[in-house]
């Protein structure tokens, strides 16, 4: 890998995450972008280019919505592009920003991620019907939750995982979110609450699932020279990785996300990390479902195959544990405006590494990993941030 120059994060911003927000997507993009610029001590005049991360058009109901969002992202008459890998988009958007700056083409890049799922009524699930192959899958009338339930069951059966251990992820993340001012579903709950919650698609129960949400988030990326002018405490993007697996998902091993492992290996190699569990201080793996946090810890090589549930049961992944996982509160607690949720994880790394996370602060955090996942359970996007 030939990385021309190091890329810094110098600002981060976020809106509230809620089931419905009154602001338009454009207004939300503006609020998050403006907050990130304020945090960096910059104005749009300092920004060379803009990358927008936003996921399925069908939720907002505006086809090619990045064009519609452009003004809110401050991108008028600037080099602007949208990056998109479904649910993996949020962590892919700073990767898109990174290559603009790492290549030497631009010195500064504003990365904005927006999602409004509320316009799709009565439930955004209906929009998911159109992601399936129309020839061989749609005639079966699938619900998107099916594929996660199928994957979760395969994972549980392969490693003989008790549902109690998986439920602990919801308890932890919703609890962590109590300290996140933007959080939509922060709550103090118990394992029993999760196990007694409504069965949606067994083994997935109501409290295993993150909610539909509206929200936006943003980061400001710069070259090293520019970063030094604006801050004494830049955070560095030291590794990026992404990988996609076959769309023939029923032909894949559902108990291990190999594509996440490929993305993680790419990012670790760039960041010169050889022993991830020892060298990573905390992680923000994608947790739209409880089991996915565990699946992704294993894909990120932070736990051995099948062992993430036990680490969770042992308290290792608590905010004060040896390997804090989702100190933000994750998608389960903060909410899941898809692309914005992934970028929220990168924002969290920025605040953690700057020691600005307040009650959520992980002590001694020097290296963090964020990851998102999506499309037809086939994409892994990974970033390594250091202070």
């Amino acid at each position: 890998m030939n990385v021309k120059r190091r890329v810094a994060v110098v600002g981060a911003g976020i809106t509230l995450f809620r089931r419905r927000l009154k602001e338009t997507g454009k207004e939300l993009s503006y609020l998050a972008a403006n907050a990130a610029l304020e945090s960096a001590g910059m104005t749009m005049d300092d920004i060379d280019c803009v990358v927008m991360g936003t996921a399925p058009d069908a939720f907002d109901g505006i086809h090619m919505k990045a064009d519609n969002l452009l003004d809110g992202a401050g991108a008028t008459r600037k080099p602007y592009s949208r990056v998109y890998v479904g649910g993996g988009t949020g962590v892919f958007s700073p990767i898109g920003g990174w290559w603009h700056v790492a290549s030497g083409l631009f010195d500064t890049c504003l990365v904005v991620a927006e999602e409004k799922m509320s316009p799709c009524i009565p439930h955004p699930q209906t929009a998911f019907r159109t992601i399936w192959d129309p020839i061989i899958t749609r005639p079966l009338n699938p619900n998107l939750v099916w594929i996660f339930a199928l994957e979760m069951n395969r994972y549980m059966k392969t490693y003989n995982i008790p549902k109690e251990h998986i439920a602990m992820v919801a308890v932890k993340n919703k609890g962590n979110a109590l300290d996140h001012p933007s959080a939509q579903l922060a709550a103090k709950i118990t394992v029993e609450d999760v196990l007694n919650s409504e069965t949606m698609v067994w083994p997935v129960q109501r409290l295993d699932i993150s909610p539909p949400s509206d929200g936006a988030a943003a980061l400001v990326l710069t070259s090293e020279d520019v970063a030094r002018k604006f801050t004494d405490a830049p955070v560095w993007i030291d590794g990026v990785g992404w990988s996609l697996d076959s769309a023939y998902w029923t032909n894949r091993d559902l108990c291990f996300p190999q594509y996440v492992a490929e993305a993680a290996k790419m990012a670790y190699k760039m960041a010169k990390i050889t022993d991830p569990p020892k060298e990573v201080d905390f992680a923000e793996p994608y947790d739209p479902f409880t089991y996915k946090e565990l699946h992704h810890m294993e894909g990120l090589l932070l736990a051995k195959k099948g062992e993430a549930p036990q680490l969770t049961a042992d308290g290792v992944t608590q905010r004060d544990g040896d390997l804090p996982i989702c100190p933000s509160g994750g998608l389960l607690g903060v909410g899941n405006p898809i692309a914005a949720a992934g970028l929220m994880k990168c924002c969290e790394m920025f605040w953690q590494l700057r020691n600005e996370a307040g009650k959520r602060q992980v002590s001694g955090a020097e290296t963090g990993v964020a990851q998102a996942w999506g499309d037809l359970m086939q994409v892994g996007t990974v970033t390594v941030f250091r202070r």
Partner: protein, 171 residues
């Protein structure tokens, strides 16, 4: 959120707000319709389903038998070589029990969903389908199952020509 930031940005809207007359909202519904060609591989796949048979494609380089069939092997990235008929039997790779319909409405009678690894296809090559004629309590990973077909005169060349997979009775 940074502890340095005091203002929370965004204005919560309730479901009632979105519906209420004093909130200005606009409604629309796309009126786009599509007609898809099934393509080369799936046309044969669907024609054979109409005949009551499952067909896959073999890649001689990786020696995998692929179902659903494709005219190229995505791993070797070369054209696949031949059609291979697969038995309508297999084993449950994984399953789930859905109390949600396709629009996330609650349903009383669950839909039983499975990935079935087909006998005669390569290991790990499964298809998505439904289970039927089975006791929910007895479904398990590894359970041997067989396709139950619609009567020949009702088949139309669709994955739904297989009604569901049912357990193979012990002999």
């Amino acid at each position: 959120m940074s502890e340095k930031v005091k203002d929370l940005r965004g204005t919560r809207l309730s479901a009632a707000d979105l519906e209420s007359k004093d909130t200005i909202t606009f409604r629309g519904r796309p009126n786009a319709k599509y007609a898809w060609s099934a393509g080369i591989a799936y046309t044969k796949y669907l024609e054979e389903l109409k005949n009551g048979r499952i067909v896959g494609r073999r890649c001689r380089q990786c020696d995998r038998v692929l179902v659903p069939p494709r005219m190229f092997c995505e791993q070797c990235f070369r054209a696949t070589d031949e059609w291979v008929y697969i038995k309508g039997t297999g084993k449950i790779n994984t399953y789930s029990i859905s109390y949600l319909d396709a629009d996330a409405n609650r349903i009383k009678t669950p839909i039983l969903v499975a990935v079935v690894d087909l006998d005669g296809a390569s290991p790990g090559i499964g298809i998505l389908h439904k289970l039927g004629n089975v006791d929910i309590e007895k479904i398990h990973v590894g359970m041997p199952v067989q396709a139950v077909w619609k009567p020949a005169n009702e088949r139309k060349g669709s994955v739904t020509d297989i009604l569901y997979f049912e357990p193979i009775k012990e002999k």
